[in-house]
Amino acid sequence: MSGADSLELEPTLVRRELIVKNANGLHLLPCSLIARAVKEFAGSVKLVRGSQAANAKSVMDIIQLGATCGTEVTLEIDGQGAEAVADRIEQLFADEFMTDR
């Protein structure tokens, strides 16, 4: 852990706009896939819907966004490697979580 390394990194905050496309919205299976994708990530990951923000490491927190099909949510990631994590989650949304097809 050297301070010099972290200073060289790009700004770590990543923000993406995502749309829930799978028919049943962010229910248990999609939320569990999101939580699994980010749980090893050291920084913070949030999913924001309007004024409500959820900790993406918590299945229960994401579920309670009540995001149905067509809902727009904002992904906010802060920490080293944020881009990679954002890509992974974006892919999950794009694949409709491989569940409801």
Binding site: S58, Q64, G66
Partner: protein, 584 residues
Amino acid sequence: MLVRRGIAVSPGVASAPALVLDRDLFSVNRKTVKHEAVDSEIARFRQSVADACREISIHAEEASARLGDKYGAIFQAHLELAQDPLILDEIVALISKQNRSPESAVQTVLQKQARALKSLNNPYLNERADDLHDLERSLLRHLSGLEANSPLVLSEPVIILAHNLTPSQTARLDPKYVKAFATEVGGPTSHTAILAGALEIPAVVGLGRFLHQVSGGEIIVVDGDDGSVIISPDADAILLSERNARIQRSKDKRLVRLSEKDSFTADNVRIPVFGNIEFPHEALHCRERGAEGIGLYRTEFLYMNRDDEPSEEDHYAAYMEVVKTFPDRPVVIRTLDLGADKVPGMMESVFSDFANPELGLRSIRVSLHDKERFKIQLRALLRAALHGDIRVMFPLISSLSELREAKALVRDVAEDLHDANVPHKSAIPIGMMVEVPSAAIMAPEFAKEVDFFSIGTNDLIQYTLAADRSDPAVARYYNSADPAILRTIKMVADAALKAKISVTICGQMCSDPRFVPLFIGLGIERMSVTPQAIPEIKDLIRRITTRKAWEIAQQASEMDLAREIDQFLLGEVKKLLVPSGEEE
């Protein structure tokens, strides 16, 4: 105060706070923990999460393999839910900040989350509340420790109340804190009842639906002598039960003192009384109560309270413990009688799940089906036989070919041991249980090929009368005093007498005093009973002459109704017990 009546299956009286185990057997009693215990309680909670996760992972793999990844994904989702930091942190906070018990904290948090889901008014998410409920039950189950095959963690005396307890669950209860148990279902010959006797705690079963009237923590009196269970007794009822318990104890002491001598009838005919045991340490209980050896060691319990299969050394150590307690007395070791209602967790795959397990792969059939497992037991048996009077007995023999196959295996094992230069005794008495009607019918033929018979009345009654002993709906058909049972026992006793081999009765029926004169009259010369019944049965034998017993058997065999025989035998045994009862 509320009094319920059930079937008394293990004697004694006890009172303690209720611990209600629901169908999944988790405890839902304790709301708070002591401040000093917070850290260890949090550790216990974390362990239960780890255990639950491990179990869910196994389910996930199984579901993926059997039904496809889509189903596996459901369990993967449960796994994430079980590790949800939001949920876990909130539970830990309740334990550490409010001294709540992990059980209570788990319930509070998961039920709150379930309500939150329901309030979203999304039908799809409403159903997810069920997933949370599943998780709640899983965590509570793991907190109770029962699923993990470890003893139920208890720290103070309790009376266990449950819908039902399986044999292996019962075996896991720590008798130090469990003062009694009472269950909604079960009958007098259920294995739960037998085990309660083994643990020497009072028990009442078959109480019918009553758990909804108990919330847990209230005082319960279980009277294993008269079959009553009192919920929240008043002061008078507690006093009365304590007095009854004192009277019972002093009577017990007197009988135990008298029980030290070998057993003879009033006219000096030797009728030895042996003990039935499930665990090696019970041999000592038997000796203390005047047993003249072990008439039935149910070895399958080596398999019932553990996760892995016992090794040859485990078997050997268990047999040696019994032999050391009875170095110069007979010790009859019954080979594995697994199956039906005794299926150990690690062997579930061995048994078929057909609707009628009593007629399926069980007992000696399991041993002959998997000969390698059987040989492990036989090796240990022949090795231990070097150190005492060990006799081997096969359960549930139903045909001569089956008996010959089992005997051949004993010879094979003896040869193997001989070839390997392992010290052992190759010639040991071999006997069989007579508990299938076919064996009773063919008793004269069997008698030529075994050294002894032992009549297992529980199964013999169930198979002869075609009545499941644990099904309350047909309980009235399961009748020990049925004339067909008396006649069957007489057939077996006659065959044994003719072939000059010994015959023992080792079923529950023999622990019931009313049948003892009848058995003696039918020519049964050995009894093997639950340890607690030994002094009482020996006392009864001392009071009767063989002449009188013969007359009782004659009269009973002329009756054609079970009820009539039952009443007659009860009357006779009362007459026998009265005279010296007045001496006290």
